[in-house]
């Protein structure tokens, strides 16, 4: 059983990490709590379905096109809807949740409530430590890790990464140092949405698509970023795996309460926050910056 818990916890945590890091990035740089973040994840999954199943395009090409399209949509949303109200936190919350619901309703109108399935690049399964793991789960986990490493490297080793981190640290000083803060914000939004779109691409063949598929991940992402420390990339990474494992543990240890797995994960977040209000890596992140 332990093997199964480890494998399932890792795959679930990997997808959450991709989503949470994107969410954290845009919060850290632009102080935007983007509640439409997981709606972009859903949008990417539906676009892949459209390209691959309706238009019959190559699955890999469908993924690339979807990630590009969603990134462009995300950047335009930032420019047109979010940026104008960026100074008003409450307005951002309302605007982004409205955006998410609009995307959901558009998907509902376009595809109905029917569960949709995206064909997988690979099929079959293997056994790791005695636990069955589908190849597509392994593929998703592997790609998630690679993307996370690339994001990490981009943030730490490139000029763009320095600009992003500088803006996150202090917008005014970054501006005085010649960094185009507005453009950095937009680029970060693009990166964050691209990460969400990639998460959607990874999840699309693993799960069924339905217009409400963004809600549970959004709740989980909020829990993860608060648990890890708002704006902390490292915190989001660690928090994602903690809550991924928490959900898996509930299913294995309290099967009758499997539907409560989200609630249990949120309870863990609450307990951590009560003990450590800045989240697990809030302080570390400050130092890191």
């Amino acid at each position: 059983m332990i093997e199964s818990i480890i494998i399932n916890g890792l795959t679930s945590g990997g997808v959450y990490a991709l989503l949470a890091i994107g969410f954290s990035l845009i919060f850290g740089v632009a102080r935007i709590i983007n509640l439409a973040h997981t709606a972009f994840y859903m949008l990417a999954a539906y676009l892949i379905f459209t390209f691959a199943s309706f238009l019959g395009l190559n699955p890999l090409l469908s993924v690339i096109l979807s990630v590009i399209a969603v990134t462009i949509i995300g950047v335009f949303s930032y420019k047109l809807v979010i940026n104008p109200v960026r100074e008003h936190e409450t307005a951002i919350l309302i605007v982004t949740i409205a955006l998410a619901i609009i995307i959901q309703e558009v998907m509902l109108m376009a595809f109905g409530g029917h569960p949709r399935v995206v064909p997988s690049l690979v099929s079959g399964y293997t056994e790791i430590l005695g636990a069955k793991v589908a190849y597509k789960q392994l593929l998703a986990f592997g790609i998630a890790l690679i993307i996370l490493l690339c994001t990490w490297a981009l943030l730490l080793k490139t000029k763009l990464g320095i600009a992003v981190r500088s803006t996150a640290q202090d917008r005014e000083v970054a501006n005085l140092m010649g960094i185009n803060v507005a453009r950095t914000g937009m680029i970060t939004m693009g990166m964050a949405v691209a990460l969400a779109a990639i998460a959607g691409a990874l999840v699309a063949p693993l799960r069924v698509l339905e217009p409400g598929m963004w809600m549970h991940p959004l709740v989980m992402v909020l829990a993860i970023v608060v648990l890890g420390g708002l704006g902390s990339i490292k915190g989001s990474f660690v928090g994602a795996f903690i809550l991924g494992f928490a959900e898996t543990l509930v299913v294995f240890l309290v099967p009758m309460g499997a539907f409560l797995k989200g609630a249990v994960a949120l309870t863990i977040m609450l307990i951590v926050i009560l003990i450590r209000p800045e989240g697990l890596f809030g302080v570390a992140f400050e130092e890191e910056r």
Binding site: M1, S4, S12, K132, F259
Partner: protein
């Protein structure tokens, strides 16, 4: 001459007015408005609509419904309850259908929690509401408890969840026998996997109580959300528990990822129970063929439940291009309503209720007779239900088993149940 012309024109106009006033009411066909209420963005609501549409077209083509000595045409009103997302929306939709659209009767409803709310609204207005989706017995016990208020409610389909449970246990028993015979496992282990919803609760409670008494061991109960999109963890836990059978109760979209992941991971346990998603023609494609060997209770399959069954399926497919799911029982509901109205000779709700109570119709899913609490009667000779299994891309009827082994019920076209080969490989001697 002018006077004559003037007189002729006046006479002509008078005739025209007379003709218009005398022919007008007779020429404009009277209508009976029937609200078809359901989650229209989802397959359950779509099939509510399709079933009603097919029936309405057939009834109207035959002249309509004869009320007393007047013929009425059926006009359908599509009412989207949005009940998958919001129970309050469902109640509002019902209110709107009655007060704004002015429907005379209602058919449909799917999600139990929402149907309770819709039922109350319909009863407030004394509107007859024929349920075609929710299975919880309490919807009908309300009729027994407070007849005067709830007498306008009747359930046409499905059977209530107590009977669904009974058929479920018979399906389990049949598969358990197969496991005993083919794999030599005397006490098969059963994992209960039911979505967290009201309708599934009595089935789960019954299973935990009954299965040990009929030679099966319950190894655990898992209750994912009806809208869960990933149940790999549940399946891994079930495999780790050593289950030989997974007893499913799914009405929501979770049935698709469940079956796809069950087949993909080749979980060595036969899947038996209710999976509404597996009742749909699109299930095979939705699971990428991984749902092979998935078994579910169903209402329709290509077997002669009655002489009406296969012709109805053919007409349904010809009209809408899909295989009917159980919520297409609105087809039956309309015919039952038509017969009751014609017997009553009036549209008065109380009179129609009295005639609905006398319903005895051999329809597409069996013989419909209502119980005293307005539920559909279950049992041999009435509505029984089917067990179907996906076998290489085709939905085959496997229960009642061929040869009339159960109560002598033998439907032409039924075949034997097949254990998944990976299960035989894992547990075989």
């Amino acid at each position: 001459m002018k006077r004559v012309m003037k007189g002729a024109i006046i006479l002509l106009l008078a005739c025209l007015v007379g003709v218009a006033t005398s022919c007008g009411p007779a020429a404009a066909a009277k209508e009976i408005k029937i609200g078809v209420i359901g989650p229209m963005a989802y397959v359950q609501g779509e099939h509510h609509w399709y079933g009603a549409l097919l029936a309405a077209e057939e009834i109207n083509a035959q002249g309509g419904i004869l009320v007393g000595d007047e013929w009425y045409q059926v006009t359908l009103v599509k009412v989207d309850s949005n009940e998958m997302v919001s129970v309050p929306d469902a109640a509002s939709a019902m209110e709107r259908a009655i007060t704004v659209d002015k429907v005379d009767f209602l058919v449909g409803g799917f999600r139990t929690e929402a149907v309770f709310a819709m039922q109350d609204v319909a009863m407030d207005y004394a509107k007859i509401f024929l349920g075609c989706g929710a299975s919880t017995p309490e919807l009908c016990t309300r009729v027994a408890d407070d007849y005067d208020r709830y007498k306008y409610w009747f359930r046409v389909t499905p059977m209530n969840s107590t009977y669904l449970g009974s058929v479920d246990f018979m399906l389990l028993g049949m598969v358990a026998e197969k496991i005993r015979a083919e794999l030599g496992i005397e006490v098969p282990k059963v994992a209960i996997l039911a979505e967290k919803a009201v309708w599934a609760d009595p089935i789960v409670a019954g299973a935990k109580q009954l299965l040990p008494a009929i030679g099966m061991e319950v190894v655990g109960e898992w209750r994912p959300s009806p809208t869960a999109t990933d149940v790999t963890a549940e399946l891994s836990a079930i495999e780790a528990a050593g289950a030989h059978m997974i007893f499913t109760s799914f009405s929501g979209p979770v049935g698709v990822p469940y079956a796809a992941q069950w087949g993909e991971l080749e979980i060595p346990a036969a899947s038996v129970g209710i999976n509404v998603e597996a009742q749909k023609e699109g299930f095979w494609d939705a699971t990428g063929g991984k749902g092979n060997y998935e078994m579910t209770m169903n209402t329709y399959a290509r077997v002669n439940i009655t002489d009406e069954t296969i012709p109805f399926i053919d007409r349904f497919i010809a009209r809408v291009g899909e295989f009917p799911t159980y919520s297409a029982g609105t087809y039956e509901a309309l015919y039952i309503l038509k017969a009751a109205i014609e017997r009553a000779g009036t549209l008065d709700s109380d009179a129609v209720v009295a005639e609905l109570e006398n319903t005895d119709r051999i329809g597409t899913a069996g013989r419909t007779v209502f119980t005293s609490d307005h539920d559909v009667t279950w049992g041999p000779g009435y509505v029984v239900g089917l067990g179907v299994q996906w076998q290489d891309g085709e939905m085959k009827c496997v229960w009642p088993p061929p040869g009339g082994e159960w109560e002598g019920v033998d439907y032409e076209g039924a075949v034997d149940y097949i254990l998944p080969p990976w299960m035989v490989e894992a547990w075989g001697p």
